[in-house]
């Protein structure tokens, strides 16, 4: 077993266990904490795949932005003085049947396919430069539109949450 496969299995274990904890734990704060671990695991996967820029952006955007917003949501939508933030689990049986069916189909199709890999894998040293040039040349319109979208979301969120 090489270091690479060991790191792969370690991150896979982190991701799957913490994702399981996100959806099953009764305490919302524990869910948020496990979600943080999941994001870390996914960032580790990105780093393993040579996408270092995306790995760091994952940490900055998801862990630093989205999850902090969610923690705010948890703290503001529960009574402050109670530390017990508990919610229940419903419809386990139908959910597991449906999921079992879909996951069976998807995983069978993934594992039965013969995947071929490009000869020359991208060089992690160049991924930042590659993303930058492709973002500024091919996808410049989408990039600008994203800025508009974020501005609209900012204004919309502020006006919705205002009293």
């Amino acid at each position: 077993m090489t270091y690479y496969t060991f790191a792969f299995y370690a991150f896979a274990a982190i991701i799957l266990l913490s994702a399981y904890a996100v959806v099953t734990s009764k305490n919302v704060i524990y869910s948020a904490f496990s979600l943080m671990l999941t994001f870390f695991g996914v960032a580790g996967f990105y780093a393993l795949l040579g996408a270092d820029f995306i790995a760091i952006v994952q940490l900055i955007v998801y862990v630093g932005g989205i999850l902090t917003l969610m923690l705010f949501g948890v703290m503001l939508t529960n009574k402050i003085t109670e530390t017990e933030i508990k919610t229940g689990v419903f419809q386990v049986l139908p959910a597991s049947i449906i999921i079992g069916m879909f996951s069976g189909v998807l995983i069978a199709s993934i594992s039965n396919n013969r995947w071929t890999v490009a000869e020359k894998l991208n060089n992690p040293q160049n991924s930042l430069v590659g993303i930058g040039s492709i973002l500024m040349n091919e996808y410049i319109l989408i990039f600008e539109l994203l800025g508009v979208l974020l501005l609209i979301a900012l204004i919309g969120a502020a006006s919705i949450a205002r009293k």
């Binding site: 704060i29 524990y30 943080m36 270092d52 900055i60 530390t83």
Partner: protein, 343 residues
């Protein structure tokens, strides 16, 4: 000796040196904070333990170690004990990308004087700063006390707001260095081409953001004693409290090291190459220059703390969003124009 083993050993040696350096610097930073505050207020300061009170930090640590560790009954035990670890983790791992000297050559191999010369170093620091918010938010929430919770919420709102102006100030620096590598950012500031000279507005916004990110006065609203008892660490005692304390001072060191790296030319000693010293002496002078700049900034941090009163919370938010954020945007435009002229 094969290369892999050599680099592992070098990395371990660097980790040991840097970690010990941080611990010693932090303990003496606390001592100097008390001495400088005493000097500012015309007092004597700690002078009982050892000569001039030089052993005071060790006495403090011993006292904190021997204290009882109290966890409130309503606290969430797991997260309550997790939060100080997150704070320490963030404080210590950030040092990995800060260059404190140029590359040296040992046994025919080039070794940069930093822990890891990664090509996204600056983003790494930003990512870890955003994780640092969690330590304080979790600490505030899990204590089960309203003062802690208010401190935690204040702190996360403050840190998120100032991260934005921090990011935009850094973008101005990146225009000049054209790289996210801290080492190349330092090399781009050769001679007197320091970013603090080229873009003084960005320097100002970054320094203010660094003060806000480290929760130092005048932005220490999360732990404002008159309003919130102790803020997010009200319910912490013994070594868990010491961990927060350590993390705060370690963050101060990171803050000043980042300011030096990004704006004050890092380890650059202007025109040291023209003095005609031997390479070893030159490198020594450059490493010395880094630590002198950092020490001066640490003194500045402490000086500001004991000179400027605390802001009110709405004033803090107004400054962050209505003054610092537009200023950092203006600085970005200025940096872009300057880069075009100089090219």
């Amino acid at each position: 000796m094969n290369d892999f083993l050599f680099y592992i050993i070098v990395a371990l040696v660097k980790i040991v040196i840097i970690a010990n350096m941080i611990l010693i610097t932090v303990s003496y930073l606390v001592y100097f904070e008390r001495k400088i505050s005493a000097w500012t207020q015309n007092r004597v300061g700690p002078n009982r333990v050892g000569y001039l009170g030089l052993l005071q930090p060790f006495a403090d640590v011993l006292k904190l170690l021997l204290k009882e560790d109290i966890v409130p009954k309503v606290a969430n035990k797991f997260i309550h004990s997790m939060a100080p670890f997150i704070a320490l983790f963030v404080a210590f791992t950030t040092y990995a990308v800060i260059p404190f000297g140029p590359s040296i050559t040992l046994w025919g191999k080039e070794i940069p004087l930093m822990m890891a010369d990664v090509n996204i170093g600056i983003l790494y620091v930003l990512a870890l700063t955003s994780i640092g918010v969690y330590a304080i938010t979790f600490a505030g929430w899990s204590s089960g006390s309203k003062y802690s919770l208010l401190g935690g919420i204040r702190s996360s709102a403050q840190m998120i707001s100032y991260e934005i102006s921090m990011g935009f100030s850094i973008a101005g620096v990146l225009i000049f260095s054209q790289s996210l590598r801290p080492m190349e950012i330092v090399i781009a500031q050769h001679g007197w081409m320091w970013n603090a000279v080229l873009q003084p507005v960005g320097f100002l916004t970054f320094v203010v953001a660094a003060f806000a990110e480290t929760n130092r006065l005048p932005f220490d609203l999360p732990e404002a004693e008159p309003e919130l008892v102790g803020g997010y660490h009200t319910e912490y005692s013994s070594m868990k409290f010491a961990a927060f304390f350590l993390a705060e001072y370690a963050n101060m060191i990171i803050g000043s090291a980042m300011i030096v790296t990004l704006y004050l030319g890092g380890w650059q000693f202007p025109y040291v190459e023209t003095f005609g010293f031997s390479p070893a002496v030159t490198i020594g002078l450059q490493v010395g220059a880094f630590f002198v700049k950092m020490g001066a900034l640490l003194f500045f941090f402490i000086w500001v703390r004991w000179s400027i009163p605390r802001f009110r919370y709405d004033q803090l938010m107004n400054i962050g969003w209505k003054v610092m954020f537009p200023l950092s945007l203006l600085n970005l435009i200025w940096a872009a124009i300057l880069a075009m002229i100089m090219k």
